[in-house]
């Protein structure tokens, strides 16, 4: 349904290309700690999201967060609160905002990186300049996975 709406808003020939409906990093609106619209226009894949969470070259969320359902992955850090039951505490739109840019949800002071923002630190490694840590698709996959983390076990 959402996809349909997006499609009528843009010329039909662009609709087949995912990039055409993707929200660019500097166009993401965070209102009241929420990003309500999917960055890709579609729901992410939770299974892929779990991989992004664990992968050290992608989300590497486990560097800082314990996630009990991902216990088979080694070495969960404890810099940050465990993500167990996180979907009971935050809505999907809030979780998306946290992953996009935690600084705009918690505070400027947070150590959590902004995964879909270009407002990052100085002297970014040259080959990464102008790139976000995660793609829009990966953010959606992570969000889809986070929404499964209900009930603290």
């Amino acid at each position: 349904m959402k996809r349909f709406l997006t499609c009528v808003a843009v010329p039909a020939f662009l609709c087949s290309q995912a990039a055409a409906v993707e929200i660019a990093p500097d166009a993401v609106k965070i209102d009241e700690m929420k990003v309500s619209q999917s960055l890709t226009g579609a729901t992410g894949n939770a299974e892929e999201g779990a991989k992004v969470l664990a992968n050290r070259g992608l989300g590497n969320c486990l560097a800082c967060h314990v996630v009990t359902p991902l216990a088979k992955e080694q070495f969960h850090g404890n810099v940050a609160p465990a993500l167990d039951g996180v979907a009971d505490r935050w809505s999907e739109a809030e979780l998306r905002a946290i992953v996009v840019d935690a600084k705009r949800v918690f505070s400027e002071e947070t150590v959590m990186p902004a995964f879909y923002s270009l407002e990052v630190g100085i002297n970014v490694r040259k080959d990464l300049a102008g790139k976000t840590i995660l793609t829009a698709q990966q953010v959606e996959d992570v969000v889809a996975y986070l929404t499964t983390l209900k009930g603290s076990k």
């Binding site: 050290r56 590497n60 486990l62 560097a63 800082c64 314990v66 009990t68 216990a71 088979k72 080694q74 070495f75 969960h76 850090g77 404890n78 810099v79 150590v111 990186p113 902004a114 990052v120 630190g121 100085i122 002297n123 970014v124 490694r125 040259k126 990464l128 790139k131 840590i133």
Partner: protein, 284 residues
């Protein structure tokens, strides 16, 4: 209460098979090397963000700690031996060795390493031991300067720093423009770099004592450098470590001995004021 939560964590971890570390605070222990007790906790100097400065040794696992405590087991002592050999080796066009001028390092270099970086009036900037070695090589020996992280540079630095084993770190900020380099270093310490947007403080101040993946975050003190690292089975120089930490923020790395890293060295050395020199410390 703390004990209770630790126990809970352990039992949760063993049920779920999670690789959560059982204990995340620095250990309560003492470190004695060659019959000399090291100062591994010291009252922080005024204006320091912590009340107490802590040696990185306190954050390592028991085997790593035991290896540092035993000079016969410490693989870093091989670098000390190699440094001694270089100290006595003639090199360069003037036919001199370090010992030609400085004689017995155990006397002439005693406690010297605990007070670097120092203001260098001629260069008009702070210099560290590595730079001082290159200075003597080029100016007084007619020898080539060592390239950054050359095996000889690391070994000689380790040897010289080891002559201060146990001596508290204390640098003189009243010399020359040391204070403005300290200011610059402090600014850099709190500047977020790279795509991951971390400053030194994100890890070594805000997250000190926590685990980031498998790494127990210390205060990032410099008193053990050059250190022996098990991971790479070799010695690691301070600027190598700085560069590694900066690389991990996904930033371009400043050059070794650049003004940036020297300012950082001045400031971070000050943050460890009062801790014993532990060179060669042993790390994971």
């Amino acid at each position: 209460m703390k004990r209770l939560s630790v126990l809970l964590l352990v039992s949760v971890a063993s049920i779920s098979g999670l690789a959560v570390m059982a204990y995340a605070d620095p250990v309560d222990d003492t470190l004695t090397i060659d019959d000399r007790e090291m100062i591994i906790r010291a009252k922080a100097p005024e204006g320091h963000p912590f009340d107490e400065v802590l040696s990185g040794w306190l954050f390592r696992e028991s085997e790593t700690r035991a290896t540092e405590a035993d000079s016969f087991a410490n693989p870093g002592m091989l670098a000390v031996e190699r440094g001694e050999e270089l100290w006595n080796t003639v090199d360069g066009s003037m036919g001199k060795s370090c010992s030609s001028c400085h004689n017995d390092a155990s006397a002439t270099m005693k406690d010297v390493g605990a007070h670097f970086p120092k203001w260098d009036a001629k260069a008009r900037k702070p210099v560290n031991i590595e730079m001082k070695i290159n200075d003597c090589r080029t100016e007084r020996m007619g020898a080539e300067p060592y390239k950054f992280d050359a095996e000889e540079q690391v070994a000689l630095t380790t040897y010289i720093k080891h002559q201060s084993l146990g001596t508290p770190v204390q640098i003189d900020l009243s010399q020359g423009e040391m204070q403005s380099w300290w200011d610059k270093g402090k600014e850099l310490y709190y500047t977020r770099t790279g795509q991951l947007d971390f400053s030194c403080a994100s890890c070594h101040e805000k997250s000190m004592g926590k685990f980031i993946r498998a790494d127990h975050l210390s205060q990032g003190q410099v008193n053990g450098f050059p250190t022996y690292r098990f991971n790479t089975a070799g010695m690691v120089s301070l600027h190598n470590r700085f560069r590694g930490c900066i690389r991990d923020t996904r930033a371009e790395m400043p050059k070794a001995f650049s003004d940036e890293l020297m300012a950082l060295e001045v400031y971070v050395t000050w943050r460890g004021t009062g801790l014993s020199v532990e060179t060669p410390a042993v790390r994971q």
